[in-house]
């Protein structure tokens, strides 16, 4: 028995959970899938005094299509995302990337909301939220609000959520037509934290030129890193190897800010980013062409 003692609540509705969050604002910690929080508690790195377990809030676990978007309850398990047919059809980037999240045992418990709110710069889901221009619905006892993914991540393990707010829903607009995607990462072993990873989206216009581009990186800074300048450099162009290489140079040398670790120096991380960017952009461009 290793975690420090805590007071435990297992509400079975959102209303109850919000009431508890308001009552314990600042002390109450949400337990979602527990795949990052419980290890931290086992090490006593984190010692929440009040734990509010959302696993019995059935109304937070859904995946459905509505108004040209996929709506996902924050307690939907990663394993459900992996096998969901709407996600596969409407946001194939997410479908392709979910198997990169840890291992099946972890994905059986881990939730989309938990990973987003944990805001680990090395995690896949925050990157995918930025890449897919997600909107995130935060709720508290006093009301609710929508936050764009780009405004949600506020640095290392930090988000825009207030202490009494719970992330309840994720809205993912359907990917645009004629859009190709790619998700690539390099990890020492399958399921380990990646040394570097990238999500890429390319939309082609009727003439085969790039209409829109997106490049977002994991483990490349203090949160998911949106390489806006590199992506912009591709817009309006007919993509070729030279353009793709120069975009990869902009992203890997200017826009990302990797910290390096015992497995990879920052130079090696930048090298990986450059190589992965080129591969991912080529795959995304090819897929966009195939969908035309």
């Amino acid at each position: 028995m290793k975690p420090a003692p805590f007071e435990y609540h297992a509400p079975d509705s959102i209303e109850q959970a919000l009431g508890l969050m308001s009552q314990h604002a600042g002390e109450g910690k949400i337990l979602a899938g527990g795949q990052s929080l419980v290890p931290a508690m086992n090490f006593r790195v984190v010692q929440p005094s009040v734990l509010i377990d959302l696993n019995r809030v059935a109304e937070l676990s859904y995946i459905r299509e509505e108004d040209n978007a996929i709506r996902i309850g924050s307690m939907a398990r990663e394993r459900h995302l992996e096998f969901d047919s709407s996600i596969k059809k409407r946001t194939p980037l997410l479908h392709e990337a979910v198997p990169f999240i840890a291992h099946p045992q972890i994905r059986n418990r881990g939730t989309i909301g938990g990973s987003i709110v944990n805001a680990d710069p090395a995690a896949e889901l925050p990157v995918l939220m930025l890449a897919l221009s997600a909107r995130l619905k935060a709720k508290s006892k006093s009301g609710e609000r929508w936050v764009e993914a780009k405004d949600f991540f506020a640095g290392m393990f930090t988000t825009a959520l207030e202490p009494d707010e719970i992330l309840v829903e994720i809205e993912l607009p359907f990917m645009m037509p004629n859009t190709g995607w790619s998700f690539m990462e390099v990890a020492p072993r399958a399921g380990d934290y990646a040394l570097m990873g990238v999500a890429a989206l390319i939309t082609l216009d009727g003439n085969g030129k790039c209409e829109a581009a997106k490049l977002v990186y994991l483990n490349a800074g203090d949160g998911p890193v949106d390489a806006i300048e590199a992506a912009e450099s591709l817009v309006g162009e007919a993509l070729n190897d030279n353009l793709i290489e120069s975009a990869a140079v902009i992203a890997s040398e200017k826009e990302i800010n990797p910290f390096g670790n015992m497995h990879a120096s920052t130079d090696f991380q930048r090298h990986l980013a450059k190589v992965l960017t080129q591969k991912a952009l080529k795959q995304a461009t090819q897929r966009a062409g195939e969908s035309q």
Binding site: M1, P39, I106, R109, A190
Partner: protein, 158 residues
């Protein structure tokens, strides 16, 4: 005062009712409270996979769940695979036959990972087996005989 919560759960088809402190990990509950020491505890932070069990038929790390969270759920541990040591589950038998273990510490977690995997993938390739095993560390075998054993089991269980 320490909070104590009453839980009722099924483990290997047997119903248990116990009082637990919220911070008690499910892995420790199974071992210390129920005496089911087949579930091994390795890293206790979700990396090694030794404590893998089934929660409602899906694999999960029992060191990353609190026992209170198992209230009302159906748990299966390695002890649930067979009641008779002379009549092993086909997966266990394949591990014996293909020499899929050496020290045996990681084995219960691997077996409990492979049960749902083989249900979902009755005819897996070597690549698929290796990917499914990626969340379980073994420091003895080098994995080759484990992969062989899972392949053999998939053939036996058809």
């Amino acid at each position: 005062m320490t909070q104590s919560i009453s839980i009722t759960l099924k483990v290997n088809d047997k119903e248990y009712k116990r009082e637990v402190e919220p911070r008690l990990l499910l892995s420790d509950f199974l071992r210390h409270e129920l005496g089911l020491t087949g579930t091994h505890v390795g890293c206790e932070h979700g990396v090694c996979g030794a404590c893998t069990i089934l929660v409602d038929e899906e694999s999960a790390r029992s060191c990353l769940m609190f026992a209170v969270q198992a209230d009302g759920h159906n748990i299966m541990t390695v002890e649930g695979l067979t009641k008779d040591k002379d009549n092993l589950h086909p997966l266990q038998h394949a591990f014996w036959e293909a020499h899929g273990l050496q020290c045996g510490y990681c084995t219960p977690g691997i077996l409990m990972t492979m049960i749902p995997f083989l249900k979902q993938n009755p005819d897996p390739t070597e690549d698929e087996i290796r990917h499914a095993l990626s969340g379980n560390l073994c420091r003895c075998t080098g994995y080759q005989h484990i992969v062989d054993a899972v392949k053999l089991a998939s053939e036996k269980m058809k």
